[in-house]
């Protein structure tokens, strides 16, 4: 049954809303014309006068009629009653409104208008009552029950929700209500209620009493300050200065993810100067290439495949050579060349020269056999024998005075000393494909080699033959980079028994 205009007006009067505002609010929702007309028809304001007097009987009458209503309305009615009983309402006006609503409940039948009235009434009354918990419940169930209405219903719902939400001071309420609306809500209805809710609350449901009045005052700042959470669906009002639409949010997340992963990578890669992203990326790429190269080299070094190694050695960059040592044997002429940087001076200074005094030049068999140590993949042997002899003599002379300078001299020429045993071992290795001596050689190589050379040189007078190399003498080259790591072996090396015949020999 159509709600009477009288009832509409009564409601409006109860809520102390001007008819115009109500009309605007409801008219924005696209309400049916007939409903609107009825609503806004001249309502005798005295219609409400009956209510308070008729409260009691109507309440009972309402109870009787409950059976005729469907579940939501029954629920609503019962809740209203409870609220009415417990809360006591905000005042006569609120109670009157509630009563009005109850009355409408009884009067109304199924249909959209029922929903209209009910929801509207419920919303208003609940708001007017000062929005207790009971009031909160109502619109929720209203929303769920009444969500299946047409557009106009939802507009009304929205209006009610907005007003009620503001009234109750709960954006939550409005949000939940709006949430229920969202399912069938159409976009174009949304902007409409908003401007109207603003003026509406200002009039205030002051009739609801103190609570209502307070709520009304709060209402204005509510929607303005809260960022209208109840307004258009899912438009999350983000913080200031940040984009709100989902695309830029996703973009931002993605950028953050990339940034944190770059940071994690920076910690892994050694040269993390915290420069910009581009150079960091280059560093990462270089590091990965370097590691892959290291794997390749290490897989080679354990085989001694000369042919495979030579090209590798040729094009290895200097940093790579500094980082690890590689010994390869060239099968062709049986000489060793290694990729090794020069020994820094400090290695040389750590040479306690225990006791060797005189070294005889002749015993140093340098001439045909200089192990050529090259920084890069150089292949050619050092020089002709003349030069070698000269070098040998010089080295011997230097050795007398100071091993350090002797070694420096040798290093300067790119040569090194090694025990005969090792040289012979290497020469046999070229024949038998033994794994070459490689890897980070025991530290203090220059020192140990020097010691043993000197000591062995002394013993060469006795014509000592090649003695099996002691374990620590398995060093081949003055490997500075590796020697950097541990200078502590100097002490232990110096205690080695000087049994090895030292010679720079080339098989």
């Amino acid at each position: 049954m159509q709600p009477t205009a009288r009832e509409m007006q009564a409601m409006a009067a109860a809520g102390q809303i001007s008819l115009d505002d109500l009309r605007a609010a409801i008219g924005a929702g696209g309400v049916h014309d007939e409903f609107l007309d009825q609503l806004l028809g001249g309502l005798p304001p005295s219609a409400w006068a009956d209510l308070p007097g008729g409260k009691a009987p109507e309440g009972e009458g309402m109870q009787q009629q409950f059976g005729g209503l469907y579940d939501e309305s029954a629920m609503l009615a019962s809740r209203l009653r409870q609220h009415q009983i417990s809360g006591g309402g905000g005042g006569g006006g609120a109670e009157a409104a509630k009563q009005m609503v109850m009355q409408q409940l009884t009067d109304l039948r199924q249909g959209h208008h029922h929903h209209h009235m009910m929801l509207q009434g419920m919303g208003r009354s609940a708001a007017a009552a000062g929005g207790g918990d009971g009031g909160m419940h109502l619109p929720l169930s209203l929303g769920s029950g009444g969500g299946s209405g047409g557009a106009d219903v939802q507009a009304l719902l929205k209006a009610a929700a907005n007003s009620a939400g503001g009234e109750a001071g709960g954006g939550v309420f409005g949000g939940s209500f709006a949430g229920s609306l969202q399912q069938q809500q159409q976009q174009h209805f949304q902007p409409h209620p908003q401007p109207q809710t603003a003026p509406m609350p200002t009039k205030g449901f002051g009739g609801g009493g103190g609570g209502g009045g307070g709520g009304a005052s709060q209402q204005q700042p509510g929607p303005a300050g809260g960022g209208a959470p109840a307004s258009p669906r899912q438009r999350v009002r983000a913080r200031r200065g940040q984009a709100t639409d989902p695309h830029s949010i996703a973009e931002r997340l993605r950028r953050e993810r990339i940034a944190e992963r770059m940071k994690a990578l920076q910690e892994l890669v050694p040269n993390a100067n915290k420069t910009d992203k581009a150079t960091m990326l280059d560093e990462i790429i270089d590091y990965v290439k370097f590691l892959q190269l290291q794997v390749k080299v290490l897989s080679m070094s354990r085989l001694g495949g000369a042919a495979a190694v030579a090209p590798l050695v040729a094009d290895m960059s200097s940093e790579v050579t500094c980082s690890f040592s590689l010994l390869s044997l060239a099968t062709a002429d049986g000489y060793c060349h290694t990729t090794v940087p020069r020994v820094p001076h400090r290695e040389m200074t750590r040479l306690p020269f225990p006791g060797a005094t005189t070294i005889h030049h002749q015993q140093l068999r340098l001439t045909p056999s200089i192990v050529h140590v090259q920084g890069r993949g150089g292949a050619a042997p050092a020089a002709t024998s003349d030069v070698l002899t000269v070098t040998e003599q010089q080295v011997a002379k230097l050795m007398e005075e100071d091993m350090g300078t002797a070694m420096q001299y040798l290093q300067g020429k790119g040569l090194c000393l090694m025990p005969v045993s090792l040289a012979s071992a290497i020469s046999t290795a070229t024949c038998h494909m033994r794994p070459p001596v490689a890897g980070p050689l025991p530290p203090g190589i220059g020192a140990t080699a020097a010691h043993h050379m000197a000591a062995a040189a002394m013993r060469m007078n006795g014509g000592a033959d090649a003695v099996p190399a002691s374990p620590s003498m398995s060093v081949l080259t003055a490997q500075s980079a590796m020697a950097n790591g541990a200078g502590g072996a100097d002490g232990e090396a110096s205690q080695q028994q000087p049994k090895d015949a030292a010679s720079v020999s080339k098989p």
Partner: protein
């Protein structure tokens, strides 16, 4: 030469000179791969290689063994480990097929069914591989706008890096770097062991 080692203890990681390195990032999962697994796989593969493969081209085999063991020891949820294993398998299958084909062609030039079968097999594989390459190449081109230009170089380096997004690529690179570093340390330690005596 085939020195069989029975489960040597994995080499202790060298003290990291990198001052930037902290304890493993809280966000990342189990930072470095299990070194025992790495050692186990690699050494087993090494032993097998020393036993079987002839001398001349061992380097490549050892390198492949290194990568395979690295991929096996790594977290199988990682894209790069799966891609690496696939790569190895495809390469092995391809060489095997090619060898078989060559042998067949050389030995029996006129065996149509067998030849046809092998050829079709080879063709299938090659076509699938080519198709795969084509699709991946077509699917890739600069999916993201925000990634720098150097990113494709990184994609080429990291196995399976072609079909990943940039953020995932970075994560995979981090894991790959960790595994590579562990592998290098392992191999270096082995070399030391050999040469230290």
């Amino acid at each position: 030469m085939a020195v069989k080692r029975t489960a040597p203890s994995p080499p202790t990681p060298r003290p990291n000179p990198n001052p930037n390195r902290r304890a493993p990032v809280s966000g990342a999962d189990a930072a470095s791969p299990s070194k025992r697994m790495l050692a186990f796989h690699f050494i087993r593969a090494l032993a097998r290689i020393h036993r079987s493969t002839p001398v001349p081209r061992r380097t490549r085999t050892i390198r492949r063994a290194a990568y395979s063991s690295m991929a096996r020891a790594a977290n199988p949820r990682r894209v790069w480990s799966r891609a690496l294993l696939q790569q190895m398998r495809a390469r092995r299958a391809r060489t095997r097929r090619a060898a078989v084909l060559r042998r067949r062609v050389s030995a029996a030039p006129a065996t149509p069914p067998g030849g046809a079968r092998s050829i079709t097999g080879e063709d299938q594989e090659s076509t699938t591989l080519a198709a795969l390459a084509r699709t991946t190449a077509a699917a890739v081109p600069h999916r993201q706008a925000g990634e720098p230009a150097r990113a494709d170089a990184l994609r080429r380096l990291v196995p399976g890096g072609n079909e990943m997004e940039y953020s995932n690529l970075l994560e995979e690179t981090a894991d790959y770097v960790r595994c590579l570093r562990a592998q290098v340390q392992l191999m270096q330690g082995l070399v030391d062991l050999f040469s230290g005596r």
